[in-house]
Amino acid sequence: MASAPSNNWFLQYSPPTGEKRYELVDRPEPNLIRELFPYARPPRVAFDGQTVPMDPAPEVFITDTTFRDGQQAREPYTVKQMVDLYKLMAKLGGPNGVIRKSEFFLYTEKDREAAQKVLELGYEFPQVTGWIRAQIKDFELVKQMGLKETGILTSLSDYHIYHKLKKTRKQAVDGYLQVVDAALEHGIIPRCHFEDATRADFWEVTVPFSQMLVKRAQEAKLPVLIRFPDTMGFGVPWPEASLPRSIPKLVYHLHHEAGVPK
C-alpha cells in the first residue's frame, strides 16, 4: 500500500506501509511479559534504544464515551440527564464537530430511549454510535436504531485471552473475526476495542490481528476502526519506551507495520 501523497514542500521520510505480513503466533501458554509486569512489584518501564518519529494524522478529533464507559463507573444517568449532557457536549464541540461521536449502550430500554431522544435532536455532531455485546442478534439492534457504527470488545492481552476467556490466541481472534464479519455483513462499521492493548503481545497478536481487520475492511469496502484502550493505565507517552507500553510506538507501528490507514 503506497503512502498518501503529501502537499508539504519539504521532504518527508515515508516508510513503507503494511507491506510485510505478520502471522498470529498461537501459543499453548500465555506471554504475560513478566519482565515489565512482575505483579508482585510495581510494573517496569523499559527503553529499547529505538524511537519513532512524530507522524500525526491529517485530521484529528475527539470521541466521547461518557454514557458508555463513563456510566459503568457511576450511578446511571436518567434519560433527561443524558440528553442535557449531550446538548452541552455538542455546544462544547462547536460547529466543526470537534467532539465527533458519542457512544451509547444499546441493550437496556433506558439507554435505547436516551439514544433515540438524542437522535431526534437531529444534531450533526456528536454522531451517535453504539456499544454492543459480541452477539450477532445485537447487530439487528444497531440497524434498527439507524446507527452506522458500533463498538465491540476485542480483548488482546494474553491476560484476557488465556485467563479470562480461557481460550488460545487463535480461538479468541477467530471469535472476534466472526463478530467483525457479522457487523460488516449488516453494513455496520465495527469499532474494535483492543482491551488491555498496553499489556498485549504487539508483534505476535496486535499487529497480525490488525492486518486481518485491514484485509476485511478492504474486502467489505467499509472502514474497520481500531481503538486502543489503556485499560490498566500502563501506557507511557515516550517514543523511546519499549512496546507494548509506548503509546507512540503502538500508534506509529499500527500505521506503518500493520498498514492501518490513518
Binding site: V52, M54, D55, P56, A57, E59, V60, F61, I62, T63, D64, T65, T66, D69, G70, Q72, A73, R74, Y77, Q81, D84, L85, L88, M89, K91, L92, G93, G94, P95, N96, V98, I99, R100, K101, R227, F228, P229, D230, G233, G235, V236, P237, W238, P239, I247, P248, K249, V251, Y252, L254, H255, K262
Partner: protein, 201 residues
C-alpha cells in the same frame, strides 16, 4: 499521565482520542473530554469549540447530579484558578496574566480568584476586596491601606490561635464591614450576595 498519553497518540498518528466528561470512568477514570478539547485547540489552533460549555458542564454535574468535583481538578474544580499565596495575589493584581493560564473570565466565565489564609497577606486581601466588592464600590484600595492591614492583623491572630482552615467569603465580608464601615452600604451587601456570599442583614 493520561493527558500526555492522549496527546502522544495524536502526535504519532491516531486520528481520534476518546474521553468522558470530567474524566469519570472505571477506577482512576478516563481522559477528561474538557482537557482533550483544550489540547485540541492548543495543537490545531482551531478555536471553534465553545469552551464556556466546560463551565456549563461543571455546574450541571454539581447542580443536577450532586457530583462532588475535586476542588483541585483542572478546568472544573472550584480552586483550579484560585490562589492562596500572597505573592501570587500580588502578581494577579498587577497583571492577571502573570498568574492565570489564559483569559478564564472570558473563555470559561471563571475569573482567577483568591482564597485567604495566613499566607495570603495584604495583597490577597486587597485582591479579595477588588473581586468581591469591586473597585467601583470599595474605591482604589492599596495593600498598604491601614484598614487592609487591620484586616490582616485579625486574620493572622486567628491562625496564631490554631486556625487551619481558609477564611470563608462570609468571614471576609464581616471583616470588610468592620474595617471599611464608611464604605459599607446596601449596594455592597447586594453585590456580595450576587457573588454568592451570604451576608447578614
Amino acid at each position: 499521565m493520561v493527558i500526555a498519553n492522549s496527546v502522544a497518540a495524536w502526535l504519532y498518528g491516531a486520528a481520534a482520542n476518546n474521553g468522558t466528561l470530567l474524566g469519570i470512568g472505571e477506577r482512576t477514570g478516563n481522559t477528561p473530554l474538557e482537557a482533550l478539547v483544550i489540547w485540541y485547540v492548543m495543537l490545531t489552533g482551531d478555536d471553534s469549540p465553545d469552551l464556556s460549555a466546560i463551565t456549563d458542564i461543571k455546574e450541571y454535574y454539581e447542580r443536577e447530579l450532586g457530583e462532588h468535583i475535586p476542588p483541585r481538578q483542572p478546568l472544573v474544580g472550584d480552586r483550579f484558578n484560585i490562589t492562596q499565596a500572597g505573592i501570587h495575589a500580588d502578581g494577579l493584581m498587577k497583571d492577571e496574566e502573570i498568574y492565570n493560564i489564559f483569559d478564564t473570565t472570558r473563555l470559561l466565565r471563571r475569573p482567577p480568584g483568591v482564597m485567604i489564609t495566613d499566607k495570603t497577606g495584604t495583597a490577597g486581601i486587597t485582591l479579595w476586596i477588588g473581586r468581591y466588592v469591586g473597585r467601583d464600590l470599595a474605591g482604589d484600595i492599596d495593600k498598604r491601606d491601614p484598614r487592609v492591614q487591620q484586616m490582616e492583623k485579625e486574620i493572622l491572630g486567628d491562625y496564631e490561635h490554631g486556625r487551619v482552615s481558609a477564611m470563608s467569603n462570609e468571614e471576609m465580608a464581616r471583616l470588610f464591614k468592620k474595617h471599611f464601615t464608611e464604605k459599607w452600604n446596601e449596594d455592597v451587601a447586594k453585590r456580595l450576595q450576587q457573588r454568592g456570599v451570604r451576608v447578614e442583614a
